[in-house]
C-alpha cells in the first residue's frame, strides 16, 4: 500500500512536470518561430 501511494504521488508529479515542459516548448515555438506559423490568421474548422 505504501508503495502504491508513493507510485501515485510520484507519477502525478512527473505527469505535471511533463505537461509543464510540453506547454513551455509550445510557448517557445510560438514566440521564436513567430505568430504566422503557430497562430495562423485564417480561422479553420474541422466540423
Amino acid at each position: 500500500m505504501e508503495v502504491l501511494v508513493f507510485i501515485i504521488v510520484g507519477f502525478g508529479s512527473l505527469v505535471a512536470i511533463g505537461c509543464g515542459i510540453w506547454v513551455a516548448i509550445a510557448l517557445g515555438s510560438a514566440i521564436s518561430t513567430g505568430r504566422k506559423e503557430n497562430m495562423p490568421e485564417e480561422p479553420e474548422s474541422d466540423s
Partner: protein, 471 residues
Amino acid sequence: METAISAVVVIAYVVLLTFVALRARTSHDFEDFSIANRSLPLALVFGCLAATYVGPGFTIGFVGKGYNSGFLFVGIALAYAIQNIFVGLVVAPKLRALNNCYTLGDAIGQKYGKNCQVIAGIISVGLCAGFSAVMAKAGGDIINNIFNLPREYSWLSVAIIVVFTALYTTFGGLRASVITDAFQFASFAIFLPVTLLLTFYFHLHGDMSIFYNQAYEATAEGIKSTSFIKIIGLVTAFLLGETLIPPYANMTLASKTTSISRNGFVLAGIFSIFWFTVMVSLGIMARSIIPEDTLEDHELYKLVEIVMPHSGYALLLVVLISVVMSSLDSLLNAGAVCFTQDIVKSFVPLKNGTALNIGRVTTVVIAIVAAVCALFVQNIINGLLTCYAVWTPAILPALIIGLWIKKPKPLAGILSMSVGSAVSVTLWIIFIFILKQSVDLSLPSVIIPGLAFSILAYFIGHLWKTSKSGA
C-alpha cells in the same frame, strides 16, 4: 548574500514574464482582442485552461485541505475533472462550431435573441468581476507574505498585482493572456511538483512510511470531520460551479479547430486529477514539517519557507503570484469582451476600432472594481464558492439545452436565466446572511434548487410558446 540572490531570482522572473508579454504584441482589432483570431493550438489551449483554473484555491487552498483532510479532497475534486471532460466531449465542440460567436452570451443570443444575450452578458461581467476580486485578494496576500507587509498595506499589494496584470491584458487582449498563461503554467506546473519531490527526498529522506502514515491519519481525520451533506455540497460545487465560465468559453471559441477545443478540455480535466494529487500530497507532507498552529491559507508558504533555500522560496512565491495572475488576466479579458460584445453591441452597432477601445477601457474598469472589492473578500475558497452558486442556475440550462434542441424559444431562455438567478441569489441571501450557515454547507441548498427552478422555468417558457404558436 541570500537576499541578493533572491532579488536576482525575482527580477529575472519578472523580466522574463515581461518579455513574454511583450512578444504577444498589441491587439489591432476586436477579433484578435477577444478570441485571438480563432487560431490557438492544442498546447496553448490546454495550458491556458489549466493555468486559469489552477488559481489560489487549487494551490494554496488544496495544500491546506491536504493538510487537514488528506486524500479526501482528491476524491471530492474528481467531480471537477469529470465536469471538464464532459464539457470537452459534449459542449465545447458544439460551441466552437457556431459562426460569428465571440462569447457565451453570443451563443445564447444566437439561440434566444438579444434580450437573453444582454442578461447573459450582465451575469458574465458580474461573475468575472467577482472572480477577479477573489484573485486580486489572493495575489495581494502573496505579496504581503513576500515582503512581510503589515495588514494595513494590503491595498498596496492588491494594487501592484492588478496594475501589472491589467497592463498587458488591456493592450494584448486574449493573445497576451494566453501567451503569459502558458509561461505561468509552465512555471508552476514544473516548480510545485519539483518542490514535492525535493521535500520527499530531503526532508522525509525517501521514507515512504512517514508519508503513508500521515496520509492515512489525515484522510481518516478528514472523513471523520466532514459531514455527508458537506461532501455533497463540495461535489456539487466542483461538478457544476465553474462549468464553462466566460474565460473557459472564450478558450473554446479561440481554438483553431473543434477537435482542439474538445481535446483541450479533456486534457485539462485529466491534468486536474494529477494536479490535485500533487497539491494534496504537499499538504500531507507539511504535517510532519510545519508548526501545527499554522493558518490553513499559510501552510504552503510555511512549507516552502522551511524546505527550500531562500532563493528557491523567493522563486516559488513569484510562481504563486503567477498562479494568481494567470487566472486574473483571463477573467479581466473575458469580462471586458462580454461587456463589449453582449451588452454594448446589443444596443449600439460598433466599428471594429471602437469595440477594441471599449474592450480596453472595460478591462481597466473591471480591474479597478476588482481591486476595490478585493479588500472585502475574506476567504479565498469561500469567495469562489459564492461565485459558483449563481453561475450554474443562471446560465447553464439555457446554454446547454439551446445547443441541443432545434428551435429554442426566446421566452424559455429569458425565464430560465431570470428565475435561475433570482432563486439562487435569494437562497444565498437566506442561507448565508439570515440563517448564518457556512458557505460550503449552503452550496447544495442553493445550486440544486436554483438549477431545478431554472430547468422548470425553461420548459414552462418552451411549452407556453409552442402551444401559442400551435394555437
